[in-house]
């Protein structure tokens, strides 16, 4: 099985050596996310209560992944992602960034995609959703794009669906069709559709 093949649930994942930055201004939401990724086996977790704190950590250390809340005072998760893509040290500029948010109107999902985030995840989070998205990112071979209006992972890439052995997605998920969303708040699958197959506007 190649490294980018879907992993069955009995495959092993090693979170121990991953340096993960988790950012949320809500202490409880931070505890929840950290509890989840600690359960996965992560040991090197930086807890940040603001984007400013996160920028210091990302500026000083080699990081493997950032999980950030979208709505934070002063610098929000979108601006933090934009900073990572444009101003972080070279070693961290294209690390995976997952944006997590409680409310997902379409404009915010598009904003997350266009600031260079790899995925946006709707709260309340579940361990399975977080694991799925991390595995998706690990399987991806997305190219990096850098131009005046966008820096981040290529927004045009092949849709691969959930990893093998992880049938379906969360209840309430809808189909893949872009633009199918009519509800103000988007479901996780609608979000994934917006995040995945759009064309880059350059």
């Amino acid at each position: 099985m190649s490294s980018s093949s879907p992993k069955p649930p009995w495959a092993k994942v090693n979170f121990e050596d991953l340096s993960i930055v988790v950012v949320d201004d809500n202490q409880q939401a931070l505890d929840i996310m950290i509890q989840v990724i600690s359960g996965f086996g992560a040991k090197k977790i930086s807890r940040c209560l603001s984007a400013d704190e996160a920028r210091k950590v990302i500026g000083d250390t080699q990081i493997d992944m950032v999980i950030t809340d979208a709505m934070m005072p002063s610098i929000d998760g979108y601006d933090l992602t934009r900073w990572v893509r444009r101003e972080a040290p070279e070693q961290n500029r294209f690390i995976p960034v997952i944006v997590v948010t409680g409310h997902t109107p379409r404009r915010d999902v598009v904003k997350a995609r266009d600031c260079g985030a790899n995925y946006i995840i709707a709260k309340p989070i579940t361990p399975k959703t977080i694991m799925d998205r991390i595995l998706w990112i690990a399987r991806e071979d997305r190219m990096g794009i850098e131009c005046d209006v966008y820096v981040g992972p290529d927004r045009r890439f092949r849709r691969q669906g959930p990893p093998a052995g992880m049938p379906g997605r969360r209840s309430g998920d809808l189909n893949d069709e872009i633009g199918a969303a009519v509800e103000p708040n988007m479901s996780q699958d609608e979000i994934d559709s917006v995040m995945k197959p759009q064309k880059v506007s350059v």
């Binding site: 994942v13 359960g39 409680g102 991806e140 997305r142 990096g144």
Partner: protein, 157 residues
């Protein structure tokens, strides 16, 4: 003309994740769920506190509630969604999300509809009360909130 640089991103995450020993994926998810469950009590208390604050700051009895910052109510609602990860019923998060949609629309339209807010706060109180509505009852409640929201958006604008 815009110059576009396209390049391969080294997948450091993959390299680390699938190297060395670790946990089975299903076991890692199960461990995370067990860990998450330990936060249930604290999260439920946080939900109750947020609902109490909603009532205390934006409830029907609060004089001058229309002068308060609506974004504060929006934040209380998202804090309920945050805290819902380890608790039941899941409809609590749906009701809070419906309130976010309502507030988001109201803030954008610049028009306010207190009765619809009051109904959402009542729904949150009911769902957090521990009364078992059953799955059908919860679904019906969320559907009613959605219909209310759509109706108010159509009427109020």
């Amino acid at each position: 003309m815009t110059v576009v640089r396209k390049f391969k991103i080294p997948n450091r995450l993959r390299a680390a994740l699938f190297t060395g020993d670790g946990k089975r994926i299903d076991e890692a998810v199960a461990d995370a769920e067990i860990g998450l469950a330990t936060l249930a009590e604290a999260c439920f208390a946080a939900v109750a506190e947020s609902i109490a604050r909603m009532e205390g700051e934006f409830g029907t009895q609060v004089a001058g509630r229309e002068t308060r910052e609506l974004v504060d109510l929006y934040r209380l609602s998202t804090s309920i969604i945050d805290a819902c990860a380890p608790i039941e019923p899941k409809a609590l998060a749906d009701a809070a999300r419906s309130l976010c949609d309502l507030l988001d629309h109201a803030m954008e339209a610049g028009r306010w509809d207190w009765p619809a807010v009051d109904i959402h706060i009542d729904a949150l109180k009911l769902l957090a009360s521990g009364i078992d509505l059953g799955k059908g009852g919860e679904e019906q409640l969320i559907l009613s909130l959605e219909k209310l929201r759509q109706h108010r958006e159509a009427v109020v604008g």
